[in-house]
Amino acid sequence: MVMVVLAVVVWCLGWWLNARLAASPAAQTRTVQLLVPAIFGITVLLVWELLVRGLAVSLVILPAPSVIAARFADSLPILWQDFVQTILKGALGGYVIGCAAAFLTAILVDRSDFLRRGLLPVGNFVAALPIVGTAPILVMWFGFDWQSKAAVVVVMVFFPMLVNTVAGLRETSAIQRDLMQTYAASYWQAFFKLRLPAALPFVFNGLKISTTLALIGAIVAEFFGSPTVGMGFRISTSVGQLALDMVWAEIVVAALAGSAFYGLVALIEKTLTFWHPSQRS
């Protein structure tokens, strides 16, 4: 009971602190803008811990954050193996192949107006479909190991990437293309000096959408069959054993990997498209 009261107190305290910070004149500074969500996150974790302990919630329903952290620290080797299998081999492998293939296809498609008209509606349509459903088929074709996961990821990232790149390659205005023409630039000169840089914001938009899709594809595909290693495998078997602390540890890994992956792509975008209005603030 004490813990539950304490949880309420911690929640009010955290909220009051944030309210004070948000209303203070320093609210626009970068430190405060990072501090407020951090305080909120810590408050949620504390309340979670106190409530789980105070109400004696069973481990098979919701483990406390400290239990998850302990499990995380204990099983670092297993988590690392799963990370390599699912993220580095499955997701990243498929991501690179899929995005490269979509990029090259987009360049080909862009050269023909007819193809672009035909492929864009189809691509937009396919991008909205539940493509993870192809996982059982691809697992059947490519076996249980990471190759089939990479194949699922390739199919998942291909169309969003294709649609974005094709849209980006159309971003130049007629006057810019005319200028290239007056310089007697060849197709590839105009491509590398004008159209590719102009397309980069769209390309990176596609790349960023694809990071999340890649992780989803790699993890879900493992639910349909995998070797005895991998994040999706570990999650589904640990759920079966009611070892929810292990499941949460894997979810922490997935969250860290997802944000790091996204952050990395966003960082590259920032260095490559520094000239774009959305990056200058």
């Binding site: 305080i39 459903g133 992780l215 993890i219």
Partner: protein, 305 residues
Amino acid sequence: MKTFFAVLTVLAAIIALWYAACVPMNIKGVLDQAERAGAEVTPATPKARRDLGTMGLVANNSFAIGDTWVQERPRLPAPHQVAVELWQTTVEKKITSKRSLIYHGQVTLSATLLGFAIGTGLGILLAVGIVHSRVMDMSVMPWAIVSQTIPIIALAPMIIVVLYSIGVQGIIPKAVISAYLSFFPVVVGMVKGLRAPDAMQLDLLKTYNASTSQGFWKLRLPSSMPYLFASLKIGIAASLVGAIVGELPTGAVSGLGARLLAGSYYGQTVQIWSALFAAAILAALLVALLGLIERLVLKRMGVSA
């Protein structure tokens, strides 16, 4: 009109590619069957066939090409096989039958819609809170944005089991997964939309002495509609994926996800493909329906013609 023909050409090319791909994918199975049935096959032993590679097999046994499109359990079913299976399991089966795709689709659809309604409702509420409260904006919004980079679908198996262990089963666990998958896109899109009116418009309402709630109903809400519908379309697709994935870990007996799983256990490729196409058609219908509602609402709100 030109676009229409271009799309048709691309679709025809995809179907042609599909038929062509069936030949090398299925040739080995067809030849094994033909040999067992006593036909002349070159090379004669399964081992020699494995060494030859698929293209060589096709070249040596051109008589078998036709059979690659009508196999019972092909590695890659031909388009017409999938179409026939779709027709048989939707139109010719009774809706109550356990083998009817309509029945399975309706199970998945009801979970999707329930989850989508919950997720969207909560998402819009949170967005309204975020727009009107600085504290909520500063503390919750960064987490909502970060959550979009995380494969939260990994939580799906756990939610099913946890809810099961406290006695909740059936449609609710799947709907919960659908709800949280559609929740975050709606929050982010709706916040963007509610902030869409510029300072001039907000100032105008202030000179009219409009209250906050009047400003909300007359300016912020109408101008958020395009953003809302853009994220609703993402949300409903995510909800459907959530409902399908939610059917996997429990070994559910009904629903499109269960059809996929059962098909992959028993090697019923035609069944997998038809379930996949049913899911695709369902997703397309839902997105199209939202597009229709969007047109009507935007017209009503006077945002665009």
